[in-house]
């Protein structure tokens, strides 16, 4: 087990390094750079100044030199100030500072969507499986297909139209109502702003997990050990909860980990629609604005999240299913 985990850990690090090389090279190769943007926005900048800036930022260095420089800033901090991850050229602030708040906002959104999708998806899947071929099963299946097929940004727009414009229950976007007292009211206000984006972001995964849970459950309830549990005279509730559901959840663990990249994709679009100041929106702006340090920091965060979740899934899998031996 330990050896397996160690191997997976090394594997994860390889993936991270590989990805960072890939993303950095692609990012740096995008046409245009911060100095060109500066020139475009300020015609008074003299050519010798831009030349100096290009040299100072190392914009004309070969890609690998720039990558090594970036890694040095990542590990050791900015040579002048020691700021990890360097500075944002758009905001003129340390990347850490910009990321900090954005990260918190994104985590609110992601964790909300994750929990919602898991609870609703798994319950709907179990219900569907226990009532196979009933009207409810049919309705859940069709709803799951719909959730699987709806463009997340359009769902966001329609939800804003329905629940913020036509029936003004929720705010149309943003994160806070200005002037709300801190503490309890502020928290409630935050949750109130979270509801629509969380539902929208959760839809795809709710649908996916409901479908997998249904088939996983259908497979498990036909197993002998479930029949045995029933034959022992256990209450149906206990048979389902303790014997069937737990086993049916095992394959879902891997699925949940594999769903993380998709959830992050969705968050970029959800944050854009709801003007939610999170990592997704930041990444979008950073890529377009050639703010390499910020873009790389966000990308690294996304890659790290997926790698960590994959590792967690391996551990959870081994713990949940004693039949699995990794050595």
């Amino acid at each position: 087990m330990q050896r397996f985990l160690f191997r997976r850990f090394v594997h994860g690090i390889f993936i991270l390094v590989g990805l960072s090389v890939l993303m950095f090279s692609l990012l740096v190769m995008t046409p245009g750079d911060p100095v060109e943007l500066l020139q475009a926005s300020n015609p008074d900048v003299r050519p010798e100044d831009t030349a100096m800036l290009r040299k100072y930022y190392g914009l004309d260095d070969p890609v690998y030199v720039r990558y090594v420089k970036w890694v040095r800033i990542l590990v050791l901090g900015d040579p002048a100030t020691g700021a990890r991850l360097g500075y944002s050229r758009t905001y003129g602030q340390p990347v850490m500072k910009i990321i900090g708040d954005r990260l918190k906002n994104t985590l609110w959104l992601l964790s909300g969507a994750f929990v919602l999708a898991f609870v609703v998806g798994v319950s709907a899947g179990i219900y569907s499986a226990l009532h196979q071929y009933s009207k409810a099963d049919y309705a859940i299946t069709v709803a799951a297909f719909a959730g699987h097929s709806v463009p997340v940004f359009w769902q966001g727009i329609v939800f804003i139209l329905l629940f913020a414009v036509w029936i003004p229950w929720f705010p149309a976007g943003g994160m806070l109502t200005p002037g709300v007292a801190p503490g309890w009211p502020a928290l409630m206000d935050r949750l109130w702003h979270l509801i629509l984006p969380v539902i929208v972001l959760a839809t795809f995964n709710t649908a996916a997990w409901a479908r997998y849970m249904r088939s996983s459950m259908l497979e498990v309830i036909r197993q002998d050990y479930v029949r045995t549990a029933r034959a022992k005279g256990n209450a149906e509730r206990i048979v389902i909860r303790r014997h069937a559901m737990r086993n049916a959840l095992i394959p879902i663990i891997t699925l949940v980990a594999l769903s993380v990249p998709g959830l992050l994709n969705g968050s970029v679009l959800t944050e854009t629609v709801f003007s939610w100041p999170g990592m997704g929106l930041l990444l979008f702006q950073a890529v377009l604005g050639h703010d390499y340090n910020v873009a790389m920091a966000v990308l690294l965060f996304l890659a790290l999240t997926t790698v960590v979740f994959n590792l967690l899934a391996d551990v959870a899998y081994a713990m949940a299913d004693p039949r699995i031996r990794y050595d």
């Binding site: 594997h11 390889f14 993936i15 590989g18 990805l19 890939l22 993303m23 692609l26 990012l27 190769m29 995008t30 046409p31 299946t141 069709v142 297909f145 719909a146 699987h148 097929s149 709806v150 463009p151 997340v152 940004f153 359009w154 727009i157 329609v158 804003i160 139209l161 414009v165 479908r211 997998y212 088939s215 594999l258 993380v260 990249p261 998709g262 992050l264 994709n265 970029v268 679009l269 854009t272 629609v273 990444l283 979008f284 890529v287 377009l288 873009a295 966000v298 990308l299 996304l302 890659a303 997926t306 790698v307 994959n310």
Partner: protein, 306 residues
């Protein structure tokens, strides 16, 4: 008829058992698959809708109720009426007509991506599965990396990297990151097929490796590829709409369902129909292809049923 012999009874029992399991006797694989497909009601609906939407896109120039690019500033922001069923946009153009033409682009993105991904994925998967060793290892590590990243950020970067706003660019981006699923499926199939007797026979008759891969292995691994390709049509349309919504996909004046929605949010209060209808078409199209793909999976390869 006289008393049935035990053998006859056994045969009859076997026939009834197969019939009950939905396997018809004396039918080819395709006939069986087709019968199973016809029983899948949602798949039939999905397939019909997919055909209808495709026809709508192909026939757009002939059946569209209005001119596709004629600007009519007197009739801007007209809400849905009998004249303009889905209303008009900020330039007075008929939204239904725009949707029909945009469908051509969106569906082409879907179909071409599906074909490109199937071909590249099948070839890569076949090579990995057939040759094994370091080729297989390095290709599968690459797959590991590609499936563990959120692709939208990479799409964003690539969209910024590759100039132009046409269909080719989008298809290229989707293919570069999308071949992994098909490659995995085909590799798995090839691994289980490559020591099969018919492959050995081909080899014994002196068939080249390329011939064995293309003629014997890939055709036998086709069922899951067809299913994956069908689902890819929907996914590519979905991904295109997301990218175009962010302003990085298909660029105007070429209309796609996604870029019709780019500014929809600004106009939400003024003209909600501009936001609702193009998205509805994306939704219905993707839904149709997902139903169709699910039905095909059940029909072509019941073992894969989820």
């Amino acid at each position: 008829m006289a008393q049935a012999t035990p053998q006859q009874i056994a045969l009859e029992l076997e026939r009834r058992r197969k019939e009950a399991a939905g396997v018809a006797i004396g039918q080819s694989y395709m006939q069986i698959a087709w019968r199973r497909f016809l029983k899948h009601r949602l798949a039939l609906i999905g397939g019909t809708a997919a055909i209808a939407l495709t026809l709508m896109a192909i026939l757009a120039p002939w059946i569209a109720p209005h001119s596709f690019e004629k600007i009519n500033l007197q009739e801007r922001w007209v809400s849905p009426t009998l004249q303009n069923v889905f209303g008009t946009d900020e330039l007075g153009r008929d939204v239904l007509t725009r949707i029909m033409f945009a469908g051509r682009i969106s569906l082409v993105v879907g179909y071409v991506t599906a074909i490109a991904i199937s071909i590249s994925g099948a070839l890569i998967g076949a090579v990995a599965g057939f040759y094994g060793g370091w080729v297989d290892n390095s290709l599968m590590r690459l797959v590991d990396i590609l499936i563990s990243v959120p692709v939208l950020p990479l799409y964003l970067i690539l969209a910024a990297l590759i100039p132009g706003g046409g269909v080719g660019r989008i298809v290229l981006i989707f293919t570069v990151f999308g071949w992994t699923t098909v490659a995995r499926l085909v590799r798995g199939q090839i691994l289980s097929l490559k020591s099969a007797d018919f492959v050995e026979a081909g080899r014994a008759m002196g068939a080249s490796e390329v011939r064995i891969i293309l003629r014997h292995l890939i055709p036998n691994a086709l069922a899951p590829v067809i299913v994956a390709a069908t689902l890819t049509v929907g996914n590519a349309i979905l991904a295109e709409s997301g990218l175009s919504f962010l302003g990085l996909g298909i660029q105007p004046p070429t209309p796609s369902w996604g870029n019709m929605l780019t500014r929809a949010q600004e106009y939400l209060l003024k003209a909600s129909w501009l936001a609702v209808f193009p998205g509805l078409f994306i939704f219905l199209t993707v839904l149709s292809f997902n139903f169709l793909g699910d039905g095909l999976r059940d029909a072509l390869d019941p073992r894969l049923k989820t």
